[in-house]
């Protein structure tokens, strides 16, 4: 215990704090400029000076540790005079352009000068001028205003780990610059904007558009992009989002954001938004009215159901839609349409993997909090770059690395280049071999745990038929790191599972997690991949993860829903597509998804959908899929409606409405109306009522309310009852005989700056990353004689594309990457797929690629 006196107030601390922190805790304000709560103390601005008894000089409160018996004075004539002197120094070269500066009103320097500063200037020489830089598409830099507090640089380096900016020069020639001195070759997280106390770095998205005091309201909500679900504040004026900012210490992201969350919001104001329902007439989509469109949909679906039975209908739900939307959607499919053919794109990765792990390791296996990653001793990362897919989770990994954790990476992971301890890059389609060999060796050392019969048996069986020891550089090191670690986290991306034998890797990873007692994190590209599963948008489970096959559950839901739930498990996503192609499925309802673009083999998918009798697409944009629909229904987007989302930690969070718009209707509401027309009543006044029903009928969400959820710590299993089903037999392994002999392999790029097809409507993100490029390794470039910017044509079995080459040093193998985000230019159109028989994920086959320089 430390007791000190600040301004005659006795303060007792139970942990070591700086004098500044101690004072703040006690409600005593000490002015600061270089200090920031998210950053390490710096001590550069000297504004926080205080008098400390028995210390000869004034001390900076931000760096001085409080000690027992210390007597501190934070305000005195001496101290005020010093602060005035410091502020005078800061102003001698400051342009004093407040009337023109966008920071005015929220500028720390302005506020400090107002309180402590000099009123007249004694400096008569010419000021140091640095021309304002508009060379970057997103940031403007005005180094005349910079006070060299280095908060931006420390944020960028010590917290974000991008280290894309630095102070160039020294002394009074110091100025913040990116390497190029012009545009920022960075991660565009914009966290530098959060910490800049003055108007030295500003976002061009809002510059000269409003004053901080002119916002009508600020709405605390969550981001709509990925499975992390960061908290942020939407600042609204005239029913438009003016700016998105994080708030320090708030949400699981604690004041940090990534480029998508901070700059990607403008899609919502896009002029391309759908505004009215569209109906196909004479082969063309034409504007229609809600009543006509909804009538057509209800009518058509009823017809198909009556003539072919419920099994001819299917629905595709959306991991971009809320739990309420998805809950209503599955209820509609089951009760109004009479089918369990419900799935989502989550099947191609997250949902399939999640189901696999839950079956083997028990429910809740993936419910681990991101913050916990920071304290891991070892983090094993495979199947994707967490810093691009789930950036804020990626930051936790970087933080762990800084704290000394070992970071072992299997495959390429650009964002961890400077943070990894070890990297293994198995050749394409050899990942399962590596993982099985690893499991065997770990088993050999550790033996079995005897707690999970299925896994025990499966691991032993695998070991018995194992081939000779595995020989790969770094393999033994990886083994040692994993064996030595007392606390291991496994972070799994979906790339290495999207194989025809993806389940082999899944089993090996499950085995490793089991033997190492590791925690599992599944990377999740979309904001509600867990939610679509939990609300029952899967063909084999009812809300709350209740298996359809268990009659007790089914009966309870039937009682609550007042009807009959179809008996048989439905089709999974890719089976639905195949079903459409085979004419088994006649009508398909797609809510917030774009399968034509987002699934491999575009021409196959689009042909399948074209062979349907009836296709409804509900979306906020006229997507590639909507273009071929019979009816298109405009929905509402982010900040236009309220609803809950379940993130990859299985935390339920509330996304709030911030603006009024007449663009469309809530997804759940459209569906409820159709349901009503089809004779199955759904009467919800608002999304809250939907949640109330979920909380009533699903045993997992007992008593959950919006009020409870908005506290932000609603984590699985909430107040509910988790299911602890156990299986005794590990799933069988289907040996596939894929032998690939190509020189180069095409893989899907998961860029940090884009997310599905949503981000292409965000002008800012399009400016940051405007055109896809074929990303190749240094070696590949050498082998093919390619230079940065060369044009190439690349071919797979089913097609070819032209692209610009970009050489990426973080690629360590013969994969070449191309993105699936840009209109008319997705990599999926070049890839075919097979369905993994076990997980029903697509195996991205046909990825051998030939590259020709043009």
């Amino acid at each position: 215990m430390i007791t000190l006196t600040i301004n005659d107030k006795e303060i007792t601390l139970d942990k070591p704090l700086t004098v500044l922190e101690a004072a703040r805790q006690a409600g005593i304000k000490i002015p600061t400029l270089c200090y920031h709560e998210a950053l390490k103390p710096y001590g550069g601005c000297r504004l926080c000076v205080v008098e400390v008894e028995r210390m000869p000089r004034l001390q900076t409160a931000c760096t001085l540790m409080a000690a027992d018996g210390m007597v501190v004075k934070t305000e005195s004539d001496t101290v005020s005079k010093v602060r005035r002197g410091i502020l005078e120094f800061l102003l001698i070269n400051h342009p004093l352009d407040c009337p023109y500066c966008d920071k005015a009103g929220e500028c720390e320097l302005q506020d400090l000068v107002n309180k402590y500063g000099p009123t007249v200037g004694r400096y008569i020489e010419e000021k140091r001028r640095v021309p304002e830089s508009h060379k970057d598409e997103i940031f403007t830099r005005n180094m005349s205003r910079c006070v060299v507090c280095t908060r931006c640089v420390r944020m960028c380096g010590d917290v974000q780990g991008a280290s894309a900016i630095s102070i160039m020069g020294r002394g009074n020639r110091s100025r913040m610059e990116p390497f190029s001195a012009e545009s920022f070759n960075c991660e565009y997280c914009g966290n530098c904007l959060t910490v800049c106390p003055v108007g030295a770095i500003l976002s061009r998205l809002y510059i000269h558009s409003f004053r901080p005091w002119q916002v009508d309201k600020e709405v605390e909500t969550i981001c709509s992009y990925c499975g992390v679900g960061c908290s942020l504040v939407a600042q609204v004026r005239d029913d438009a989002i003016k700016r998105v900012i994080p708030r320090m210490g708030f949400g699981l992201n604690k004041g940090l954001l990534c480029s998508r969350g901070r700059f990607g919001y403008e899609y919502i104001n896009s002029g391309e938004r759908l505004k009215t329902p569209l109906v196909r007439k004479d082969g063309k989509l034409v504007e229609s009215t809600w009543s006509e469109a909804l009538g057509i949909v209800a009518d058509k679906l009823m017809k198909v159901k009556n003539s072919h039975g419920g099994s001819a209908l299917a629905g595709i739900a959306s991991p971009r839609c809320s739990n309420e939307d998805n809950y209503v959607f599955q209820k509609f499919m089951r009760m109004a349409c009479g089918t369990n053919n419900i799935d989502s794109i989550s099947r191609t990765g997250f949902a399939a993997a999640q189901k696999y792990f839950e079956d083997l390791l028990g429910q809740g296996t993936t419910a681990n909090i991101i913050e916990g990653l920071k304290n891991s001793e070892t983090i094993f990362i495979l199947g994707g770059d967490p810093t691009a897919i789930n950036p804020i989770l990626g930051l936790a990994i970087r933080e762990a690395a800084r704290r000394g954790a070992k970071i072992a990476v299997l495959g390429n992971a650009k964002g961890l280049e400077r943070f990894k301890t070890l990297q293994l890059v198995p050749s394409v389609f050899k990942e399962a071999d590596v993982l099985e060999a690893l499991l065997n060796e770990i088993y050999n050392v550790k033996g079995l745990r005897g707690e999970n019969p299925a896994l025990d048996k499966g691991i032993r069986a695998l070991y018995e038929k194992a081939a000779a020891a595995f020989d790969m550089q770094g393999f033994d090191n990886l083994k040692k790191i994993l064996l030595d670690s007392a606390s291991t986290a496994v972070v799994l991306g979906m790339d290495l599972l999207q194989r025809t034998d993806g389940h082999r890797s899944l089993f090996a990873i499950a085995g490793l997690i089991y033997l190492l007692e590791a925690r599992l994190y599944l990377l999740s590209e979309k904001p509600n991949e867990q939610g679509v599963v939990d609300t029952g948008c899967v063909p084999d489970m009812l809300p709350g993860g209740r298996p359809l096959g268990i009659h007790d559950f089914k009966r309870k839901f039937e009682a609550a829903w007042n009807g009959v739930i179809p008996e048989n498990e439905g089709l999974t996503l890719l089976e639905i597509i195949e079903g459409a192609k085979n004419k088994k499925i006649k009508a398909l309802y797609i809510m917030g998804e774009n399968p034509v673009f987002n699934l491999p083999n575009e021409s196959f998918v689009s042909e399948a959908l074209k062979s349907l009798d009836f296709l409804v697409v509900q979306d906020i944009f006229l997507t590639e899929t909507a273009e071929i629909a019979d009816v298109v229904l405009p929905a509402l987007g982010w900040t236009e409606k309220t609803g809950t989302y379940t993130n990859l930690e299985r935390r339920i969070q509330l996304q709030k409405k911030a603006v009024e718009t007449s663009n469309g209707m809530e997804d759940w509401k459209i569906i409820a109306e159709i349901s009503n027309k089809m004779g199955y009543r759904m009467n919800f006044a608002d999304s809250k009522e939907v949640m109330d029903e979920i909380a009533k009928v699903s045993p997992l969400y007992r008593d959950l309310t919006y009020q409870e959820i908005s506290k932000g710590n609603c984590l699985w299993p909430y107040n509910g009852e988790p299911l602890r089903g156990e299986i005794s037999e590990a799933p069988a392994v289907f040996k596939t005989a894929n032998e690939y002999k190509g020189d180069f392999y095409l893989a899907v790029e998961k860029p940090l700056f884009h997310s599905g097809t949503l981000s292409r409507r965000s002008p800012a993100l399009m400016k940051i990353y405007s055109e896809p490029a074929l990303k190749v390794s240094v070696k590949t470039a050498e082998k093919l004689g390619l230079n940065e910017g060369d044009r190439v044509q690349f071919f797979t079995q089913i097609g070819s594309k032209e692209a610009i080459v970009s050489i990426d040093e973080s690629i360590k193998d013969n994969r070449v990457y191309y993105s699936n985000n840009f209109k008319g230019n997705g990599i999926f159109s070049l890839l075919t797929f097979n369905i993994d028989k076990l997980t029903k994920m697509p195996g991205l086959e046909g990825c051998e690629v030939k590259i020709k320089k043009l």
Binding site: G43, E125, G171
Partner: protein, 420 residues
């Protein structure tokens, strides 16, 4: 006085290891390795040796802080940044007597339980770099450095790290930042380098001259060493005299030799029969003393009493033809150029001071400028992150204290009567 630091220095081959051995070199190292590190530490404490880098911190005390935890590896850094203007005392050791330093470091490494030492050498000494590298190689070959020094199972390696033109890197924490491959900006203290310095481990930073005293202390004993100099500050000291004297140069004299003697006895008095006007006694960061204040003992204790500091013992002598405004202006150009930019008062204040001085010197001074100078210097002094800023303010305040009228005349007349 017997020369300890500049011994043998007139021998043209003094930097060669064989010449060094001929005059008894490396004898102390082999003697030291037969002693317990603790015994040697006791001798260092007894010797009263204080750091020669400028601050005068007792070396034995610094070392005992670092030794406190025997389990940690430690680093020994030799501060050969010698950046204080007017200072050129370490250079003769580095260029002509490198083995004295190497032997001193090897002994220190043994005492401190350190296996790696680095000489942080200023970038402006390329010749010294070659000499040192060669000497280190020779010492390695003769087994005075390496994994098994003199067959005693003691390990100590030495490497030279070349600075790149930043005065602030002489400050020990900035030096550590620099050797870690960063900008040389000072670190917060605590933690002090002795607890967490280079690469996060306990680190001892000592000046070249400080470490070069070790062989003698081991050879003759702390007691004998302490006989040289005066009670509070013992041993020999290198004084470097520059400016308007007849015989500028580096002089090895007992600590506490009077400033007058240094100038008149050793440096041959004022050039061209001119009159002494002022002396900067310890390198440019120390306050100036007027001609009538030079009867002071040059040591760490007496100099503050005389209104200045011993600093690095760099005596800059100015005769009656030198304009104090001009000297101050040039000094401030230096501080402005060398300010690392970390803290506001130094970064902005040195620029402002320089600009005021510039206009005064250029005949554009305004009424009130002298007060402004004094006020701005006051706003810097005591508020900066590290002593560099204090030094800048101290120079101005010292000059104003003794030569205020010169500044005022400059403002009033737009020029002065001095040639330089």
């Amino acid at each position: 006085m017997e020369k300890i630091l500049l011994k043998n220095i007139d021998n043209p081959n003094s930097a060669d290891i064989n010449e060094y051995i001929k005059v008894g070199g490396y004898g102390s190292l082999s003697k030291a390795l037969n002693m317990q590190p603790k015994e040697i530490l006791e001798e260092v404490k007894k010797s009263g040796l204080r750091g020669r880098g400028g601050a005068g911190f007792p070396t034995g005390m610094k070392w005992s802080f670092a030794i406190a935890d025997p389990n940690f590896p430690k680093y020994l850094l030799c501060n050969a940044d010698e950046g204080e203007p007017g200072t050129f005392k370490d250079r003769p050791i580095l260029e002509k007597n490198p083995h004295l330093l190497i032997e001193g470091m090897a002994i220190s490494g043994y005492v401190l339980g350190s296996e790696f030492g680095y000489v942080y050498l200023r970038g402006e000494y390329p010749y010294a770099k070659d000499v040192l590298n060669k000497a280190i190689k020779q010492a390695h070959e003769k087994n005075y450095l390496g994994d098994n020094i003199l067959g005693k199972g003691i390990r100590f390696h030495l490497a030279v790290y070349q600075g790149a033109g930043a005065y602030i890197c002489g400050e020990e924490t900035a030096l550590i930042e620099s050797i870690e491959g960063r900008k040389g900006q000072p670190r917060n203290k605590p933690p002090f380098p002795v607890n967490a310095g280079a690469w996060g481990l306990p680190t001892i930073v000592n000046n070249v001259e400080t470490l070069s005293n070790l062989p003698y202390i081991v050879e003759a004993g702390g007691e004998a060493y302490s006989k040289t100099g005066n009670k509070d500050c013992s041993g020999p000291k290198l004084f470097c005299v520059s400016g308007c004297v007849n015989k500028p140069g580096v002089f090895e004299l007992p600590m506490g030799t009077s400033l007058r003697d240094i100038i008149y006895k050793h440096a041959g008095g004022i050039k061209d029969g001119k009159k002494l006007k002022a002396v900067i006694p310890g390198g440019i960061s120390t306050p100036v003393l007027p001609a009538d204040s030079i009867d002071c003992a040059m040591d760490f204790v007496s100099m503050p009493k005389a209104g200045s500091m011993l600093g690095s013992g760099a005596v800059i002598v100015m005769d009656e033809s030198v304009c104090m405004v001009r000297v101050t202006h040039r000094a401030l150009k230096f501080f402005e150029h060398e300010s690392c930019g970390k803290c506001v008062p130094c970064r902005e204040g040195t620029e402002w001071l320089r600009k005021i001085l510039e206009r005064i010197e250029n005949g554009k001074g305004r009424e009130g400028d002298v007060e402004l100078l004094s006020d701005v210097a006051g706003n810097i002094s005591g508020k900066t992150f590290c002593p560099l800023g204090d030094g800048a303010a101290g120079v101005v305040m010292g000059m104003l204290k003794h030569f205020r009228n010169e500044f005022e005349e400059h403002v009033k007349n737009g020029n002065c009567k001095f040639q330089i």
